[in-house]
C-alpha cells in the first residue's frame, strides 16, 4: 500500500465526516480508514446515542462508501485529455471507464506517457485542465471504483 493512497482515503473520510462530531469508516475492499471526532463537551459517544446514519460507519456501512482513487501524473509535462487523432476527450466527469483505459497523455519534450485508469469506475473529478503543465505525481483525476 502506498502512503499516498492512504492519504487520499483519509482525505475522503475527513470530507465525509465534515466539521461535526461523528465517526466515518471507508474501505475499498482490502483497506480501511476510520476517523472520528467527539463533540466538544465529551470525549466518547455514549452508548445508545443516536447517530447520523449517513455519517456513521461501522463495518457494515464500510463498503457503501468507496473511496475515490486518485490518478496521478506519471511524469512532469503537459497534460492532454484529448485523443490527438480524433480530438475527442478520453474521459469527462461522470463517464464510466474500464481498468487500463486511456485517460490522458503527458508530454515531456518529445516523450509521451500514457495515463491509464487503475480501476474500473466512474470519473468523479478532474483536477487539471487540458493543456496544463503538471509536475510528477500531481493529481489528475479521481475515479470512483465500481463495486
Amino acid at each position: 500500500m502506498r502512503l499516498s493512497d492512504f492519504r487520499d482515503m483519509l482525505c475522503s473520510a475527513l470530507n465525509l465526516l465534515g466539521d461535526g462530531p461523528g465517526r466515518v469508516e471507508i474501505s475499498d475492499g482490502s483497506r480501511r480508514v476510520r476517523v472520528g471526532r467527539s463533540s466538544a463537551d465529551r470525549d466518547e459517544p455514549q452508548a445508545g446515542e443516536p447517530v447520523n446514519p449517513l455519517r456513521t460507519a461501522g463495518p457494515s456501512a464500510a463498503l457503501a462508501v468507496p473511496a475515490g482513487v486518485i490518478v496521478r501524473a506519471p511524469a512532469v509535462g503537459i497534460v492532454s485529455f484529448r485523443d490527438q487523432r480524433t480530438d475527442k476527450p478520453f474521459a469527462v466527469i461522470g463517464q464510466t471507464v474500464t481498468q487500463g483505459e486511456t485517460l490522458a497523455f503527458i508530454t515531456s519534450m518529445e516523450i509521451t506517457t500514457k495515463v491509464v485508469s487503475p480501476r474500473a469506475g466512474v470519473v468523479e473529478e478532474v483536477f487539471v485542465e487540458d493543456g496544463d503543465g503538471v509536475e510528477y505525481n500531481a493529481p489528475l483525476l479521481k475515479i470512483l471504483p465500481s463495486a
Binding site: A75, V76, G77, S108, M109, Y136, N137
Partner: protein
C-alpha cells in the same frame, strides 16, 4: 543577467547555487524527486517542481523531466551543480538545443576533457607540459609494451574514462605489463563501460596539485589558486591544503598562470578543475581536467 534559473541538483549543492542566485537577484526553480519534497532547497527556492520518483535515474538524471520542468517554469538557464548531469555532454547539448543556457562548459569541452588521452593532447597543444606517455589510446598490450619501452619503467596504466583509482596499474617491469594491461582494461570496462587504456611515466612520490579556474564567455579567465591534494587513501583525497607547502611562491604563480593561459587558449567557459602532478624536483605536468567546479 538571467531572470530565472533552474537548478538540476539537490541538497547542499542546490542550496549553494540558490543562495548565489538570491544574492544576484535571480529567481530560482528547485527540482526534486518525491523523496526530497520536504528539503531545504525546495523550501528556499522561489519555485519548485517535482520531476520524478526517488531513483535518481528517474529524477535527477532524467534529462527529459528536467528540460520539461525548465520549460514549464519558464527558466532561461539550467545550473547542473556538480555530480549528476554536470559533466554530461549529452545533457549540455540537449539544454542548448532546447533553447536554454547550460551554465557550464560547452558540450565540446566536456567531451574532450572527459576523454583523458584527448584532454592531454588538447592541453599539450596549448602549452601545458604533459607526462611522457602514449599520445593516443592503446589498442592492445603489445602497443603498451612499445610505448613503455620508450618512456622507461615504471609506468602507470590508466583507463581512458577512469577515476577513483579503478582501471589503474603501476607496472615496474616489462614482464608484468601484459597481465596488468588486461586486468586494468577489464576492470575499466566493468566500472566505466569502456576498457580503453593509455599509459604514462609513473612518478615516484608525486604531489597532486589542483587548480580551479573560472572562465567567462568573453575570454576572461581567472585561477583561484592551488590546492595540495596529495594526502590520499586508495586514490581518494583525504584532506586538501592551500597554499601547498610543497610549492614556493614563484613556482606556484608560474604553474597557476600557465594553467590560466592554457584554459583561455582552448576557449573554455565556466568553472573547471585542472589536476597537475608535480615530481620531486617540482616539475609539473598536466594530468586531467574536471569540467565542473572543484570539490
Amino acid at each position: 543577467m538571467f531572470k530565472k534559473i533552474l537548478i538540476a541538483n539537490r541538497g547542499e549543492v542546490a542550496l549553494r547555487v540558490i543562495r548565489a542566485c538570491q544574492e544576484l537577484g535571480i529567481a530560482t526553480v528547485a527540482v526534486h524527486s518525491t523523496a526530497d519534497a520536504d528539503t531545504v532547497p525546495v523550501h528556499v527556492a522561489d519555485e519548485n517542481i517535482c520531476i520524478g520518483p526517488p531513483p535518481v535515474t528517474k529524477s535527477y538524471l532524467n534529462t527529459h523531466a528536467i528540460l520539461t520542468a525548465a520549460k514549464l517554469t519558464g527558466a532561461e538557464a539550467i545550473h547542473p551543480g556538480y555530480g549528476f548531469l554536470s559533466e554530461s555532454e549529452t545533457f549540455a547539448r540537449l539544454v542548448r538545443k532546447s533553447g536554454l543556457v547550460f551554465i557550464g562548459p560547452s558540450e565540446d569541452h566536456i567531451a574532450r576533457m572527459g576523454q583523458k588521452a584527448e584532454a592531454r593532447k588538447t592541453m599539450k597543444e596549448v602549452g601545458l607540459p604533459i607526462l611522457p606517455g602514449s599520445p593516443d589510446m592503446l589498442p592492445d598490450a603489445e602497443s603498451a609494451r612499445r610505448v613503455a619501452a620508450e618512456v622507461g619503467y615504471p609506468v602507470l596504466l590508466k583507463a581512458a574514462y577512469g577515476g577513483g583509482g579503478r582501471g589503474m596499474r603501476i607496472v615496474r617491469k616489462e614482464e608484468e605489463l601484459e597481465a596488468a594491461f588486461l586486468q586494468a582494461s577489464a576492470e575499466a570496462a566493468n566500472a566505466f563501460g569502456d576498457g580503453g587504456m593509455y599509459l604514462e611515466k609513473f612518478i615516484e612520490n608525486p604531489h597532486h596539485i589542483e587548480i580551479q579556474i573560472l572562465a567567462d564567455r568573453h575570454g576572461s579567465v581567472i585561477h583561484l589558486g592551488e590546492r595540495e591534494c596529495s594526502i590520499q587513501r586508495r586514490h581518494q583525497k583525504l584532506i586538501e591544503e592551500s597554499p601547498s607547502p610543497f610549492l614556493a611562491p614563484d613556482r606556484r604563480s608560474q604553474m597557476c598562470e600557465l594553467v590560466r593561459q592554457a584554459i583561455a587558449k582552448i576557449g573554455y567557459e565556466g568553472a573547471g578543475t585542472v589536476e597537475m602532478i608535480v615530481d620531486e624536483e617540482r616539475r609539473f605536468y598536466f594530468m586531467e581536467m574536471n569540467t565542473r567546479l572543484q570539490v
